[in-house]
Symmetry: C2
Subunit: 365 residues, 2 copies
């Protein structure tokens, strides 16, 4: 069987060990005589699956006891609505806009309630010219009465990451979209009121959304769709209705793989190493490849890069696909190319990409 080097931004590569395990037990989970996707979500077998997944996730992220872990549906996008619906309670919220995703979150919240723009790195509404860095502390104007400050700690499209958690604003409840770098390094969960992430990048298949929320934030929702109410979900162990059982099972396999591989400290080292190699290839190309992001804000997960023109970029995509790579085309909103280096991407794949990049540049040069 030939597996490809998959640099997709999401849905993205999953650890081959987790996929193989799922394949092995797809028709018969642990001798139960049925697939995990055929089992009642309230039965003994699946209860074991979801409890272990939660316990392993709590271990990996060192989640404090006063945080609830919810396994929900609808992706980060449904959380763009759920967060203001749950947390505003008649107040206003602050948003930091640092890329396409935090901008979407802000726009959705503005439809639902009162929001303030606490900071933006967009330049003149032209996303292609801005979104190249995280704002400095002195650029963030926080409303001390805000229900929360929303931020996206890694912008998948623009490749901007809040690398140093200690620089994040203090004295305000942080609501963080971590979809594209959760589990890529240890995070200090207690710095946040709520952390959320669509699964389809570093966690498991799409259709699952992780929400990690501090207990004292629950129960502020006014009348909202019941399925979006964090308190109702927490009181029902994420089973207000049937959850995405197979996706939770796959995420559980990924969590076990992460623990076996050395946990998030090891993932942090690896993603530092992997991204450094790609950025180095970009820097050493003498302008053949260009990444516009400020060096200290460059994402370890998503590396967008441009070539001299669209024709050359299209050739890069074509030839990379022929050479056994997948998912290197940039997001349609910004164009260009992008390499996503989630946990499941081994160093070997990154080395192959860097070789290809050098060889491609040499051929065109």
């Amino acid at each position: 069987m030939t597996r490809i080097w998959n640099f997709s931004a999401g849905p993205a590569a999953l650890p081959e060990a987790a996929l193989s395990k799922a394949q092995e037990e797809l028709l018969n989970w642990h001798g139960a005589g049925a697939s995990v996707m055929e089992m009642s979500h309230r039965g003994k077998c699946f209860t074991e699956v979801i409890r272990e997944a939660e316990a392993d996730l709590r271990d990996l992220l060192a989640i404090p006891e006063n945080y609830k872990v919810l396994f929900l549906q609808g992706g980060a996008t449904l959380q763009f609505s759920a967060i203001p619906l749950n947390l505003l309670a008649g107040r206003s919220a602050d948003y930091m806009v640092t890329g396409a995703w935090s901008k979407k979150a802000w726009q959705e919240a503005a439809r639902i309630g009162k929001v303030r723009l606490a900071a933006t790195t967009e330049v003149d509404g032209r996303p292609s010219d801005g979104f190249t860095r995280f704002p400095r502390a002195d650029e963030i104007a926080i409303d001390p009465k805000a229900a929360y400050l929303h931020l996206c700690t890694n912008e998948t499209i623009h490749g901007v990451e809040a690398r140093d958690e200690s620089l994040l604003p203090e004295g305000v409840t942080l609501a963080a979209d971590m979809s594209s770098h959760i589990l890529s390094r240890p995070m200090e969960v207690s710095r946040y009121g709520i952390i959320y992430a669509g699964a389809q990048k570093n966690v498991g298949p799409s259709g699952l959304t992780l929400v990690i929320v501090r207990e004292d934030l629950l129960g502020q929702a006014e009348v909202i769709p019941r399925l979006l109410d964090y308190r109702a979900q927490a009181e029902n162990d994420s089973m207000l209705n049937t959850p995405a059982t197979f996706a939770i099972y796959m995420a559980g396999l990924v969590f076990k793989w992460l623990k076996k591989e050395g946990g998030l400290t090891r993932m942090a080292d690896l993603s530092h190493e992997k991204s450094a190699r790609v950025y180095e290839a970009i820097e050493q190309s003498e302008g053949f490849y260009r990444n516009p992001v400020d060096k200290e804000c460059r994402s370890r997960m998503n590396i967008p890069f441009r070539l001299a023109n669209a024709e050359l970029e299209a050739r890069f995509v074509r030839e990379s696909e022929a050479a056994g790579f997948m998912g290197l085309k940039g997001h349609k909103s910004v164009g260009g190319l992008r390499a996503s280096l989630y946990n499941a991407m081994p160093l070997e794949g990154v080395a192959a990409l860097v070789d290809f990049m050098r060889e491609f540049a040499a051929r065109q040069g």
Copy 2:
């Protein structure tokens, strides 16, 4: 490999052929070198998956062209909120309450907007005493100005089915929860304004929700969470954000299996035959097994039944599990036992269940 006879109400048994196909290509879909769950939802491969799934579903249900097919998340429960949010537009809606699920839908809608109870078969608010039949036409009081009339055409917990579509109310937009009997027989889609179904019974894994909605109903939503807006989802081909790709793929495999097996006419024959055998075993037990539902409203999909006492019911569950059956315990809200006979349950499994029921009764008799 030993597969068990799985009578779970949902998540429920899936066709073994679909599971085997998924197993075969789990790490490498059609030679692409990646799992279908690792692929961009906007890429060529997954576009093929979702287009085929929609085309096959349209074939199976003969869905008219003026209906949109949406592949959403959140289960039927999120639709309990989405339907009033999309369709009320300041008006009132009518609800028929015929079991636990339609009651939940009504209660959720009542939190969101103005609703009327058009009919109920509940007796004195004691669900265990009522919910044994579908209301007669002369018991349904329809408000001609209602935005829609909501009904659940098969009540999974109470085992009540609207068997004859021609008896459904006319002259009003029907909004139907078909979660537990969709694809079990041909349906006249044009009788409904909107049909919806959680996938985890007759379609595929949990985490996917089918919504089939008439185009003229789109675009009435006021400001609601954007992901719940049918028009926005329809305009974006169910890809306002990343959909539950693996669940859509599995549903697609189930649709292909259904077509190969003879389509919904064949499924209608089979489910008639399968359910008749179980009801016959209940009738012939001389009161050892009891099903309270009016004969003409008995569900072909979900057959709840009681024994003389809870102790005997617990023994039935224990011994059935030891004998290789799964999922026969009734829903916690009503107790007793329940056999769910979705499309994936072969006649052979039903024959084995009926043998077990007769043998169990004889041993206790």
